[in-house]
Structures are given as C-alpha cells and as structure tokens.
C-alpha cells in the first residue's frame, strides 16, 4: 500500500511540474494592473482549455497533497495508519469537491 501511495504521489508530482510553471506564469501575468472578478471571468468563462487544464490540476493536487499530509501526520503527529488513512481520504475528497466547484464556478459551467 505504501509503495502504491508513494508512486501515486510521485506520478502526480511529475504531472503537476509543468502545470505549476504555467500557473505561476498565468498568475504573474494576470495580477498586473490589479485584479477584478470581471477581468478574470472574462478570460476564463467558457474557455475549454482553461477548464481542462485546471480540472486535471485539481485532480492531481487532490491526490498529491493528502498523501503528503498523511505521511506528515504519521511521522510528526504519531497517528496510527487507520486514522491517517481516513484523514487523507477526507482531505482528498475535500480538495476534489472544493476544487472542482471552483473550476465550475470560474469556468462558467
């Protein structure tokens, strides 16, 4: 189980490396001259490239982060496997739900 989680985390990390570069680029570009909801949504609503990219991003992050947090809880908080597994699952679902909701909201679906 630990080996599978390890590889899943590494795999999602590899997927997200280019995503992060793009995201940083997008953010640094977008914040110039101030931000407004109108400005952002004008660019993102109905934009299928945007929607696809961030959907994949959200799913990857929802797998990657909980696996990491799980290990930290196990090593630094000393929690048992059963507990951290549940926490990881819950966090994964939380990230997924909130993240996909954000994609739907900003992408105008």
């Amino acid at each position: 189980m630990e080996m599978k989680l390890f590889l899943l985390q590494r795999l999602t990390a590899m997927i997200m490396v280019p995503f992060i570069f793009v995201h940083i680029g997008v953010i640094v570009y977008a914040v110039r001259g101030g931000l407004s909801a109108e400005e952002i949504l004008g660019r993102t609503q109905g934009n299928w490239l945007w929607i696809a990219f961030y959907t994949l991003f959200v799913i990857s992050a929802s797998i990657h982060a909980p696996i990491g947090i799980r290990k930290v809880l196990k090593e630094w908080a000393g929690l048992r496997s059963q507990v951290v597994n549940l926490v990881a699952l819950a966090l994964g679902l939380l990230f997924l739900v909130l993240g996909l909701r954000a994609v739907i909201a900003v992408g105008g679906l």
């Binding site: 189980m1 630990e2 080996m3 989680l5 390890f6 590889l7 590494r10 196990k74 090593e75 630094w76």
Partner: protein, 234 residues
Amino acid sequence: MLAVRIWRGEENGEYVTYHIPSRENQTVLDVVTEIQRQVDPTLAYRFSCRVGVCGSCAMTVNGKPRWTCRSHVKNVVENGVIQLEPLRNMPRIKDLVVDMTEFFDKWKKAGGEFIGTRTRQDRPALVDPESKARKQADAAIECINCAVCYAACDVVEWDKDYLGPAALNRAWSLVNDERHADPKGVLKKSMADGGCNSCHTQGSCMKHCPVGLSPTGSIAGLKKRSLFELLGGK
C-alpha cells in the same frame, strides 16, 4: 584540560562530566579509554580495531554519530567540551552501549542474506566488474553495519516500521548481484511498507557514513526499480 560530558545510565540516567588532560594527538576513543581506565572503570563503551575498519566504536559525539577512533579531538571539540552519548534510535543497554538487535533484524527483513546458486563443484561466477549492475553493487557493498546511518536518520526515529538506510543499502547491493538466487524477492521486500518508500532523501545517512557510502543513492535506485516493477516492466 578537556571537559567530557558522558551519558551514564540507560534510558534513565544523567550526564557526568570528567576532566582529562588535552593532548596533541588524541582521538575521542583515546579520551573514553583514558576515562574508563584511569578515572571511572564502571564506564561501558564499545570498541574493537581502533583503526577505523570495524565500526564498533560508533557513538554520538557532540550531537553527531561518528566513529570515535576516527574523531580527532581537535576536529570535534566545542568550547573545550566533548559530549558523548549512545547512538540514537536504538535502546540503551548501559552508558554508551546500545542494543543493535533491531538494526540487524531489519537487515534480514530487507532480504540482506545472500543465497548462492552454485556449489563448490561449480566454477566461480564470472562477474564483469565494469557491468552496470556490478558497479551499482560495488558502490554499496563496503558497508560494515556500524549503524551510524541508522542513528543519523530521522525517519528511523519517526517510523518504527522503517527498515533504515543500512538494510536498504544492503538490499540494493543484492538486487544488483547476479549471483544472488532471489533478487526479485529482495526488491519485493524493499518495496514493502517501511521499505524504500519511507525514505525522504534527507541525506543524513550519506552525510555521516564513515565509509563514504550513499544509502540515499541505493534507496533511490530501489525506488526507480520499484516504478518499473509496478509498471510491469523489467
């Protein structure tokens, strides 16, 4: 004069400070030996070869796990003080002596025992020392199980299941040993819970290894090999 703070006791105990003359050529092993012979014969510590080839004298010197026979006082003393403690991550038997049972158990658990496939009737194996696999094995083979890396590793402290750098380094050397009967079995053991997937590449093991080995590298090799295994490749 040198002030030497030494842990006396087992899990419960205290630091006792001894004072001995500072000498021109003095290793920490010389210091401990002088204290035990001239000052306090009840002090318990381990040593054997005293020339840096056996690893028996490993202990924590001013916070770092080292071989005392290869630690010149000049290089480790801090403000005229040397603090000596037993190695971390192992139960204390007495003073500077620890119980290494679990360390060796984990070595076995990682598949460290070599199983030959030939008998004395067969020719010796012809292993090309320049082959990629043999080079990988050679880079890891010199380990003498002194447990300095095991003591340096935080994950060993945080995760009771973690097999540790020495055990996994050994596993890697066997995965690459063409004479070994069951390299796949060793790989499988290193991929189990508490195996290579628990390593966070902190690098404390390779930083402190007195032989200059890199369990970090060996474990990275195991991780890479695991990816191929799980993807069904070879």
